[in-house]
Amino acid sequence: MNDKKSARVLVVTSGKGGVGKTTSTAALGAALAHLGEKVVVIDFDVGLRNLDLVMGAERRVVFDLINVIHGVAKLPQALIRDKRLENLHLLPASQTRDKDALTEDGVAKVIAELRSKFDWIICDSPAGIERGATLAMRYADAAIIVTNPEVSSVRDSDRIIGLLDSKTEKAERGECVDKQLLITRYHPWRAARGEMLSIDDVLEILSIPLLGIVPESEEVLRASNVGSPVTLNSPLSSPARAYFEAARRLKGETIPMYVPSESRGIFNKLFGRKAA
């Protein structure tokens, strides 16, 4: 036994900003760690870092990804262990530098070193299609494309899917990066009224398999304000349960997908937690 299965490098990307990449990285990372996996989440948004805030680690950042790339610190010095889940670590981005400080070789070395220590390496990509985003995806085995069910987000996600098939090492080797769609901020009644795209519309345009549907919820904002991934802060809320199911699907379980509807909102009101 003890035959270590190889680590899985996931990139959480979208193209469009503000759709839920950082929220999803934290939520999925925490969910996987809760399920027993050894997880590290990496913030690639150099200069505009948010993952440390959402994880509640902003007061413990000493060294960051850029420091490690430039040899100023060793990787263990920069990794921050989560106080609630011992299997969960964070590698924060720099706030004072910008994406030009990232180098391809530097990122490759960091990911190679992390592969030997963790089961899951989740890269939180910045928005856009430039250096930060392309470096976050470069060494990925698989991608989670986060999309809101509205036209700008869908088109930007389509662009990112095209880039995953050309700007990654796997694509350059002739292999295919596994892509899965995570629909976030889904409003059941807005879709019904035609104010937002339906799940079917989004799937028809993007043509990639669906990982999960996360409903719009106030719990997400509450969780990020207290610095805790939503799956830790309110695990019974509807977004948290969607993220847990998505994490289990990532691990290979087959869980039937259902489209969130109003009734879950009632459940949420009965069992929702308040922010501390």
Binding site: H70, R155, G162, L163, S166
Partner: protein, 240 residues
């Protein structure tokens, strides 16, 4: 305390393949410019977003003459990517000299491909000794991707996303939804068509005649459609 060591990286250079339309001016230049104006009158900004290469091998222009020609083209919203067919000594201060232009081979979405830049003829000169050729794309064409195949037809077995473009010397067949741009017959062949399973395009063009989504009748949307040239008019109709 350790000091900050900054490591300098050596740059890696990659070669990339781009498609450009080629203008081959003929003497007298003034008349050639008038012909160009007549073409542009029907589709004013057709070349505006696209790379254009200038082949000056058919004329002998002085450096002043070249500068004047470039200015005239700039006035017409044509931006020259590079020039071929002139002496390197005459090329000082001009757009870069292009080398190795040859007939287009098929290649898929434009991303790293270490082949020297090639440029197709795009102004009506028929290509001789052609093998029948077609490009088959089995995956959806994603937003931002540009597929160009001057030598023949292009067939796509998926959808073409908003923000993507298909450029073909022959016809274009899309067995999915066309949401982007399709430009057929770019080498001047007028007997080409554009077919799609579901029509939702941003722009259609055959040769230099184009129509944007706005100019196309709404009744054709969201169903199978074909586009063709009738005289100088681009026509689109539903196929049922």
């Amino acid at each position: 305390m350790s000091s900050l060591i900054v490591q300098r990286q050596t740059l890696k250079f990659r070669a990339r393949n781009y498609m450009a339309f080629v203008f081959t001016p003929r003497a007298p230049i003034a008349e050639w410019l008038m012909d160009l104006d007549a073409t542009l009158e029907r589709s004013r900004s057709f070349f505006a977003g696209h790379a254009v290469a200038l082949d000056l091998s058919a004329v002998r222009l002085s450096p002043n003459g070249i500068a004047h020609l470039l200015a005239s083209l700039a006035e017409r919203n044509v931006r020259v990517l590079g020039i071929e067919g002139i002496e390197p000594s005459d090329a000082v201060g001009l757009p870069p000299l292009l080398r190795g232009g040859r007939g287009m081979q098929d290649f898929g979405p434009v991303e790293p491909d270490p082949v020297p830049a090639s440029a197709p003829a795009a102004e009506g000169a028929p290509r001789t000794n052609q093998q029948p050729a077609s490009l088959l794309i089995e995956d959806p064409v994603r937003s931002g991707q540009s597929v160009a195949f001057i030598d023949g037809d292009v067939t796509v077995l998926g959808s073409v996303a908003s923000g993507a473009e298909i450029i073909a010397g022959g016809s274009i067949h899309i067995y999915g939804t066309l949401r982007g741009q399709a430009m057929a017959g770019v080498t001047g062949n007028r007997r080409v068509r554009i077919f799609c399973h579901r029509f939702d395009a941003e722009l259609l063009a055959i040769g230099a005649y184009y129509k944007t989504a706005d100019e196309i009748d709404k009744s054709v949307r969201s169903g199978p459609a074909q586009a063709w040239l009738d005289g100088n008019t681009l026509k689109i109709s539903a196929m049922n």
